[in-house]
Amino acid sequence: MLLCHHTAAGKDAVRKVSPGGQLFVASVVVLMLLSVFSETWEIAALEVEFLATDVTLEFLGSLGLRHWNLIELILAGAALALSLSALVTSGVLALKAMGSASRRRPDKIPI
Protein backbone atom coordinates (compact mmCIF):
# COMPACT_ATOMS: atom_id res chain seq x y z
CA MET A 1 0.00 0.00 0.00
CA LEU A 2 2.18 2.80 -1.27
CA LEU A 3 0.81 6.33 -0.93
CA CYS A 4 1.64 7.12 -4.55
CA HIS A 5 -0.59 4.26 -5.74
CA HIS A 6 -3.65 5.85 -4.15
CA THR A 7 -4.09 8.20 -7.09
CA ALA A 8 -5.19 7.34 -10.61
CA ALA A 9 -2.00 8.95 -11.92
CA GLY A 10 0.10 6.97 -9.47
CA LYS A 11 -1.46 3.60 -10.28
CA ASP A 12 -0.82 4.02 -13.99
CA ALA A 13 2.15 6.38 -14.02
CA VAL A 14 3.72 4.70 -17.06
CA ARG A 15 0.78 5.87 -19.17
CA LYS A 16 -0.28 9.05 -17.34
CA VAL A 17 3.07 10.87 -17.49
CA SER A 18 3.21 13.55 -20.18
CA PRO A 19 5.47 13.02 -23.22
CA GLY A 20 7.76 15.76 -21.93
CA GLY A 21 8.11 14.02 -18.59
CA GLN A 22 8.84 10.69 -20.25
CA LEU A 23 11.44 12.35 -22.48
CA PHE A 24 13.09 13.86 -19.38
CA VAL A 25 13.30 10.54 -17.52
CA ALA A 26 14.44 8.75 -20.70
CA SER A 27 17.23 11.32 -21.09
CA VAL A 28 18.32 10.79 -17.49
CA VAL A 29 18.35 6.99 -17.98
CA VAL A 30 20.34 7.30 -21.24
CA LEU A 31 22.92 9.50 -19.51
CA MET A 32 23.15 7.06 -16.58
CA LEU A 33 23.89 4.24 -19.03
CA LEU A 34 26.32 6.39 -21.01
CA SER A 35 28.25 7.14 -17.82
CA VAL A 36 28.73 3.41 -17.26
CA PHE A 37 29.66 2.80 -20.91
CA SER A 38 32.04 5.78 -20.87
CA GLU A 39 33.98 4.25 -17.99
CA THR A 40 34.26 0.89 -19.74
CA TRP A 41 35.39 2.34 -23.06
CA GLU A 42 38.03 4.38 -21.31
CA ILE A 43 39.39 1.22 -19.71
CA ALA A 44 39.17 -0.68 -23.00
CA ALA A 45 41.08 2.11 -24.75
CA LEU A 46 43.82 1.88 -22.15
CA GLU A 47 44.09 -1.87 -22.41
CA VAL A 48 44.02 -2.32 -26.16
CA GLU A 49 46.37 0.17 -27.70
CA PHE A 50 45.27 -0.05 -31.29
CA LEU A 51 41.68 0.63 -30.29
CA ALA A 52 42.83 3.75 -28.46
CA THR A 53 43.23 5.50 -31.78
CA ASP A 54 39.65 4.85 -32.72
CA VAL A 55 37.84 8.18 -32.85
CA THR A 56 34.58 6.80 -31.52
CA LEU A 57 36.20 5.23 -28.50
CA GLU A 58 38.19 8.36 -27.76
CA PHE A 59 35.09 10.51 -28.02
CA LEU A 60 33.02 8.27 -25.78
CA GLY A 61 35.84 7.94 -23.29
CA SER A 62 36.37 11.68 -23.19
CA LEU A 63 32.72 12.41 -22.49
CA GLY A 64 33.86 12.45 -18.90
CA LEU A 65 30.56 11.10 -17.67
CA ARG A 66 32.03 8.41 -15.47
CA HIS A 67 32.14 10.45 -12.30
CA TRP A 68 28.86 12.28 -12.65
CA ASN A 69 26.63 12.14 -9.59
CA LEU A 70 22.83 11.98 -9.60
CA ILE A 71 22.23 15.75 -9.50
CA GLU A 72 24.49 16.26 -12.52
CA LEU A 73 22.78 13.44 -14.39
CA ILE A 74 19.31 14.86 -13.67
CA LEU A 75 20.32 18.40 -14.71
CA ALA A 76 22.02 17.09 -17.85
CA GLY A 77 18.96 14.93 -18.58
CA ALA A 78 16.72 17.99 -18.26
CA ALA A 79 19.02 19.97 -20.57
CA LEU A 80 19.06 17.12 -23.09
CA ALA A 81 15.27 16.77 -23.01
CA LEU A 82 14.82 20.54 -23.46
CA SER A 83 17.27 20.58 -26.37
CA LEU A 84 15.55 17.66 -28.08
CA SER A 85 12.13 19.28 -27.59
CA ALA A 86 13.44 22.58 -28.97
CA LEU A 87 15.00 20.74 -31.92
CA VAL A 88 11.79 18.88 -32.71
CA THR A 89 9.67 22.03 -32.34
CA SER A 90 11.94 24.09 -34.56
CA GLY A 91 12.10 21.27 -37.10
CA VAL A 92 8.31 21.03 -37.23
CA LEU A 93 8.00 24.81 -37.57
CA ALA A 94 10.62 24.88 -40.33
CA LEU A 95 8.86 22.08 -42.24
CA LYS A 96 5.52 23.88 -41.88
CA ALA A 97 7.08 27.11 -43.12
CA MET A 98 8.55 25.36 -46.15
CA GLY A 99 5.30 23.68 -47.04
CA SER A 100 2.91 25.48 -49.38
CA ALA A 101 -0.15 27.19 -47.92
CA SER A 102 -3.63 25.73 -48.38
CA ARG A 103 -5.28 26.81 -51.65
CA ARG A 104 -8.38 28.02 -49.86
CA ARG A 105 -6.60 30.45 -47.58
CA PRO A 106 -7.75 34.04 -48.32
CA ASP A 107 -4.18 35.38 -48.23
CA LYS A 108 -2.84 32.62 -50.47
CA ILE A 109 -0.84 34.20 -53.25
CA PRO A 110 -1.55 32.43 -56.54
CA ILE A 111 1.68 31.47 -58.25
Binding site: V25, E72, I74
Partner: protein
Protein backbone atom coordinates in the same frame (compact mmCIF):
# COMPACT_ATOMS: atom_id res chain seq x y z
CA UNK B 1 31.55 11.09 1.68
CA UNK B 2 32.24 14.73 2.46
CA UNK B 3 29.39 16.70 4.01
CA UNK B 4 27.55 18.89 1.46
CA UNK B 5 29.74 17.61 -1.38
CA UNK B 6 28.16 16.77 -4.75
CA UNK B 7 28.06 13.08 -3.88
CA UNK B 8 26.44 13.77 -0.51
CA UNK B 9 23.76 16.06 -1.98
CA UNK B 10 23.06 13.57 -4.78
CA UNK B 11 22.62 10.76 -2.29
CA UNK B 12 20.33 13.03 -0.22
CA UNK B 13 18.25 13.83 -3.32
CA UNK B 14 17.97 10.12 -4.09
CA UNK B 15 16.87 9.45 -0.51
CA UNK B 16 14.22 12.21 -0.61
CA UNK B 17 12.86 10.82 -3.88
CA UNK B 18 12.84 7.28 -2.49
CA UNK B 19 11.05 8.47 0.67
CA UNK B 20 8.38 10.13 -1.45
CA UNK B 21 7.69 7.29 -3.90
CA UNK B 22 8.03 4.42 -1.42
CA UNK B 23 6.10 6.05 1.43
CA UNK B 24 3.64 3.56 2.83
CA UNK B 25 0.09 4.48 3.76
CA UNK B 26 0.39 4.26 7.50
CA UNK B 27 -2.83 6.22 8.05
CA UNK B 28 -4.81 3.73 5.95
CA UNK B 29 -3.37 0.78 7.87
CA UNK B 30 -4.29 2.32 11.22
CA UNK B 31 -7.73 3.24 9.91
CA UNK B 32 -8.43 -0.29 8.65
CA UNK B 33 -7.15 -1.97 11.80
CA UNK B 34 -8.90 0.35 14.27
CA UNK B 35 -12.20 0.80 12.42
CA UNK B 36 -14.25 -1.28 14.86
CA UNK B 37 -12.73 0.15 18.04
CA UNK B 38 -14.36 2.92 20.13
CA UNK B 39 -13.40 6.50 19.19
CA UNK B 40 -11.26 7.24 22.28
CA UNK B 41 -9.40 3.96 21.78
CA UNK B 42 -8.84 4.83 18.12
CA UNK B 43 -6.93 7.94 19.21
CA UNK B 44 -4.61 5.79 21.32
CA UNK B 45 -4.07 3.43 18.38
CA UNK B 46 -3.30 6.38 16.06
CA UNK B 47 -0.72 7.78 18.49
CA UNK B 48 0.96 4.48 19.35
CA UNK B 49 0.65 3.22 15.78
CA UNK B 50 2.53 6.26 14.42
CA UNK B 51 5.11 5.96 17.21
CA UNK B 52 5.54 2.28 16.39
CA UNK B 53 5.96 3.06 12.66
CA UNK B 54 8.84 5.40 13.45
CA UNK B 55 10.43 2.98 15.92
CA UNK B 56 10.13 0.06 13.48
CA UNK B 57 11.78 2.16 10.76
CA UNK B 58 14.66 3.08 13.07
CA UNK B 59 15.26 -0.55 14.07
CA UNK B 60 15.08 -1.71 10.46
CA UNK B 61 17.50 1.03 9.39
CA UNK B 62 20.06 -0.22 11.93
CA UNK B 63 19.41 -3.76 10.73
CA UNK B 64 19.88 -2.81 7.07
CA UNK B 65 23.17 -1.02 7.78
CA UNK B 66 24.44 -4.15 9.55
CA UNK B 67 23.08 -6.53 6.89
CA UNK B 68 24.57 -4.66 3.94
CA UNK B 69 28.01 -5.00 5.47
CA UNK B 70 27.76 -8.80 5.23
CA UNK B 71 29.40 -10.03 1.99
CA UNK B 72 26.82 -10.97 -0.59
CA UNK B 73 23.97 -8.90 0.80
CA UNK B 74 24.63 -5.91 -1.44
CA UNK B 75 23.83 -8.12 -4.46
CA UNK B 76 20.70 -9.48 -2.75
CA UNK B 77 19.65 -5.95 -1.80
CA UNK B 78 20.33 -4.69 -5.34
CA UNK B 79 18.22 -7.46 -6.89
CA UNK B 80 15.45 -6.72 -4.37
CA UNK B 81 15.54 -3.05 -5.41
CA UNK B 82 15.09 -4.07 -9.07
CA UNK B 83 11.89 -5.89 -8.08
CA UNK B 84 10.80 -2.91 -5.94
CA UNK B 85 11.28 -0.57 -8.92
CA UNK B 86 9.11 -2.85 -11.10
CA UNK B 87 6.46 -2.96 -8.38
CA UNK B 88 6.51 0.85 -8.17
CA UNK B 89 5.98 1.29 -11.91
CA UNK B 90 3.34 -1.43 -12.30
CA UNK B 91 1.58 -2.22 -9.04
CA UNK B 92 -0.90 -4.61 -10.70
CA UNK B 93 1.77 -6.77 -12.31
CA UNK B 94 3.44 -7.30 -8.94
CA UNK B 95 0.12 -8.22 -7.38
CA UNK B 96 0.14 -5.22 -5.07
CA UNK B 97 -3.59 -5.04 -4.81
CA UNK B 98 -5.61 -4.05 -1.77
CA UNK B 99 -4.32 -5.80 1.27
CA UNK B 100 -6.94 -7.28 3.53
CA UNK B 101 -6.41 -6.17 7.10
CA UNK B 102 -8.74 -7.64 9.67
CA UNK B 103 -10.09 -5.09 12.16
CA UNK B 104 -8.65 -5.50 15.65
CA UNK B 105 -10.72 -6.15 18.75
CA UNK B 106 -8.36 -4.57 21.29
CA UNK B 107 -5.79 -1.80 21.52
CA UNK B 108 -2.93 -4.27 21.96
CA UNK B 109 -4.08 -6.31 18.98
CA UNK B 110 -4.43 -3.17 16.86
CA UNK B 111 -0.95 -1.92 17.75
CA UNK B 112 0.55 -5.37 17.10
CA UNK B 113 -1.11 -5.52 13.66
CA UNK B 114 0.03 -1.97 12.85
CA UNK B 115 3.64 -2.79 13.82
CA UNK B 116 3.67 -5.87 11.57
CA UNK B 117 2.03 -4.01 8.66
CA UNK B 118 4.46 -1.10 9.08
CA UNK B 119 7.41 -3.45 9.11
CA UNK B 120 6.23 -5.10 5.88
CA UNK B 121 5.52 -1.73 4.22
CA UNK B 122 8.75 -0.14 5.44
CA UNK B 123 11.19 -2.85 4.25
CA UNK B 124 11.28 -1.50 0.67
CA UNK B 125 11.82 2.04 1.86
CA UNK B 126 14.54 1.20 4.39
CA UNK B 127 16.40 -1.11 1.98
CA UNK B 128 16.39 1.54 -0.76
CA UNK B 129 17.60 4.21 1.67
CA UNK B 130 20.31 1.86 2.93
CA UNK B 131 21.49 1.33 -0.64
CA UNK B 132 21.36 5.02 -1.60
CA UNK B 133 23.20 6.11 1.56
CA UNK B 134 26.29 4.05 0.56
CA UNK B 135 27.16 3.30 4.17
CA UNK B 136 26.84 6.87 5.45
CA UNK B 137 25.09 6.80 8.85
CA UNK B 138 24.32 10.53 8.56
CA UNK B 139 22.42 9.97 5.31
CA UNK B 140 20.48 7.05 6.78
CA UNK B 141 19.50 9.19 9.78
CA UNK B 142 18.49 12.02 7.43
CA UNK B 143 16.48 9.57 5.34
CA UNK B 144 14.70 8.38 8.47
CA UNK B 145 14.04 11.95 9.61
CA UNK B 146 12.58 12.81 6.20
CA UNK B 147 10.32 9.76 6.18
CA UNK B 148 8.91 10.43 9.68
CA UNK B 149 6.89 13.57 8.79
CA UNK B 150 5.64 11.81 5.67
CA UNK B 151 4.45 8.84 7.74
CA UNK B 152 2.82 10.95 10.43
CA UNK B 153 1.47 14.02 8.62
CA UNK B 154 2.41 14.11 4.96
CA UNK B 155 0.27 11.49 3.26
CA UNK B 156 -2.02 14.05 1.58
CA UNK B 157 1.02 16.02 0.43
CA UNK B 158 2.51 12.98 -1.28
CA UNK B 159 -0.79 12.08 -2.91
CA UNK B 160 -1.22 15.63 -4.24
CA UNK B 161 2.39 15.73 -5.46
CA UNK B 162 2.01 12.48 -7.38
CA UNK B 163 -1.36 13.54 -8.80
CA UNK B 164 0.16 16.80 -10.06
CA UNK B 165 3.52 15.36 -11.23
CA UNK B 166 3.29 11.62 -11.91
CA UNK B 167 6.77 11.92 -13.50
CA UNK B 168 8.08 11.70 -9.90
CA UNK B 169 7.21 7.99 -9.94
CA UNK B 170 9.09 7.37 -13.20
CA UNK B 171 12.10 9.29 -11.89
CA UNK B 172 11.86 7.34 -8.64
CA UNK B 173 11.91 4.09 -10.60
CA UNK B 174 15.00 5.23 -12.54
CA UNK B 175 16.76 6.26 -9.32
CA UNK B 176 15.90 2.89 -7.72
CA UNK B 177 17.37 1.08 -10.76
CA UNK B 178 20.51 3.27 -10.54
CA UNK B 179 20.80 2.54 -6.79
CA UNK B 180 20.32 -1.19 -7.45
CA UNK B 181 23.13 -1.19 -10.04
CA UNK B 182 25.42 0.79 -7.69
CA UNK B 183 24.80 -1.70 -4.88
CA UNK B 184 25.54 -4.70 -7.10
CA UNK B 185 28.84 -3.32 -8.43
CA UNK B 186 29.96 -2.25 -4.96
CA UNK B 187 29.68 -5.82 -3.64
CA UNK B 188 33.12 -6.74 -2.20
CA UNK B 189 32.80 -10.38 -3.39
CA UNK B 190 32.47 -9.21 -7.01
CA UNK B 191 35.14 -6.48 -7.01
CA UNK B 192 38.03 -8.53 -8.36
CA UNK B 193 35.80 -10.22 -10.96
CA UNK B 194 34.40 -6.86 -12.15
CA UNK B 195 37.92 -5.38 -12.36
CA UNK B 196 39.05 -8.25 -14.59
CA UNK B 197 35.82 -8.09 -16.69
CA UNK B 198 35.24 -4.39 -17.41
CA UNK B 199 32.65 -5.20 -20.12
CA UNK B 200 30.45 -6.86 -17.50
CA UNK B 201 29.57 -3.48 -15.96
CA UNK B 202 27.69 -1.98 -18.93
CA UNK B 203 25.97 -5.32 -19.56
CA UNK B 204 24.85 -5.45 -15.90
CA UNK B 205 23.75 -1.79 -15.94
CA UNK B 206 21.68 -2.25 -19.10
CA UNK B 207 20.18 -5.48 -17.78
CA UNK B 208 19.22 -3.84 -14.45
CA UNK B 209 17.54 -0.92 -16.22
CA UNK B 210 15.92 -3.19 -18.81
CA UNK B 211 14.35 -5.34 -16.09
CA UNK B 212 13.46 -2.56 -13.62
CA UNK B 213 11.95 -0.18 -16.19
CA UNK B 214 10.24 -2.86 -18.34
CA UNK B 215 6.69 -1.83 -17.23
CA UNK B 216 7.41 1.70 -18.52
CA UNK B 217 8.92 1.03 -21.93
CA UNK B 218 6.72 -2.02 -22.40
CA UNK B 219 3.63 0.18 -22.06
CA UNK B 220 4.95 2.42 -24.84
CA UNK B 221 5.60 -0.45 -27.25
CA UNK B 222 3.02 -1.82 -29.65
CA UNK B 223 1.60 -5.18 -28.49
CA UNK B 224 3.49 -7.15 -31.13
CA UNK B 225 6.81 -5.76 -29.82
CA UNK B 226 6.10 -6.26 -26.10
CA UNK B 227 8.12 -9.45 -26.11
CA UNK B 228 11.16 -7.14 -26.18
CA UNK B 229 10.65 -6.62 -22.44
CA UNK B 230 11.68 -10.28 -22.03
CA UNK B 231 14.07 -10.67 -24.99
CA UNK B 232 16.27 -7.68 -24.17
CA UNK B 233 17.03 -8.67 -20.54
CA UNK B 234 17.37 -12.29 -21.71
CA UNK B 235 19.99 -11.34 -24.31
CA UNK B 236 21.92 -9.26 -21.78
CA UNK B 237 21.90 -12.07 -19.20
CA UNK B 238 23.06 -14.46 -21.96
CA UNK B 239 26.06 -12.20 -22.67
CA UNK B 240 26.76 -11.85 -18.94
CA UNK B 241 26.72 -15.63 -18.57
CA UNK B 242 29.61 -15.86 -21.04
CA UNK B 243 31.60 -13.39 -18.94
CA UNK B 244 31.06 -15.71 -15.97
CA UNK B 245 31.83 -18.81 -18.08
CA UNK B 246 35.21 -17.32 -19.00
CA UNK B 247 36.39 -17.86 -15.43
CA UNK B 248 34.42 -20.99 -14.57
CA UNK B 249 35.28 -23.07 -17.67
CA UNK B 250 38.41 -21.15 -18.76
CA UNK B 251 36.89 -20.13 -22.08
CA UNK B 252 38.23 -17.38 -24.30
CA UNK B 253 35.32 -14.98 -24.83
CA UNK B 254 37.25 -11.93 -26.03
CA UNK B 255 36.97 -11.91 -29.84
CA UNK B 256 40.27 -10.08 -30.12
CA UNK B 257 42.04 -12.97 -28.39
CA UNK B 258 40.33 -15.75 -30.36
CA UNK B 259 42.84 -18.01 -32.16
CA UNK B 260 41.60 -21.54 -32.84
CA UNK B 261 38.41 -23.07 -34.21
CA UNK B 262 37.04 -23.71 -30.72
CA UNK B 263 37.48 -20.01 -29.82
CA UNK B 264 35.55 -18.95 -32.93
CA UNK B 265 32.87 -21.54 -32.18
CA UNK B 266 32.47 -20.01 -28.71
CA UNK B 267 32.19 -16.58 -30.32
CA UNK B 268 29.50 -17.88 -32.70
CA UNK B 269 27.54 -19.39 -29.79
CA UNK B 270 27.99 -16.22 -27.74
CA UNK B 271 26.70 -13.83 -30.41
CA UNK B 272 24.20 -16.09 -32.24
CA UNK B 273 23.34 -18.84 -29.78
CA UNK B 274 20.55 -16.81 -28.17
CA UNK B 275 18.59 -16.67 -31.48
CA UNK B 276 16.99 -20.17 -31.25
CA UNK B 277 15.97 -19.42 -27.65
CA UNK B 278 14.43 -16.10 -28.69
CA UNK B 279 12.56 -17.75 -31.57
CA UNK B 280 11.31 -20.50 -29.24
CA UNK B 281 10.06 -17.88 -26.79
CA UNK B 282 8.29 -15.95 -29.57
CA UNK B 283 6.72 -19.18 -30.85
CA UNK B 284 5.54 -20.09 -27.34
CA UNK B 285 4.14 -16.59 -26.86
CA UNK B 286 2.24 -16.73 -30.16
CA UNK B 287 0.93 -20.18 -29.26
CA UNK B 288 -0.34 -19.08 -25.84
CA UNK B 289 -1.83 -15.99 -27.48
CA UNK B 290 -3.62 -18.19 -30.06
CA UNK B 291 -4.74 -20.66 -27.35
CA UNK B 292 -6.16 -17.94 -25.10
CA UNK B 293 -7.93 -16.28 -28.06
CA UNK B 294 -9.44 -19.68 -29.02
CA UNK B 295 -10.55 -20.26 -25.40
CA UNK B 296 -12.20 -16.84 -25.28
CA UNK B 297 -14.07 -17.51 -28.55
CA UNK B 298 -15.51 -20.74 -27.07
Amino acid sequence: MEFLSGGFLSALLAIILIDLVLAGDNALVIGLVARHLPKDTQRKVIFWGSFAAVAVRAVMAIGVVWLLKIPGFLVVGGLALVWIARKLLDPEEAGAGAHQLAPAQSVAGAIRTVIIADAVMGVDNVLAIGGAAQGSILLIVLGLLISVPIIVWGSQLVIRLVERWPVVILLGGAVLAWTAYSMIVQEPLLQSWITSHPTAKPIMATAVFAIALAPWYGANLRPRYRSLTVLLPGLLLWLLAFEVAEDVWHLEVDYLEARGLSDYAIQAIRWLGWLPLALAYLAWRNRTGVDSAATQRR
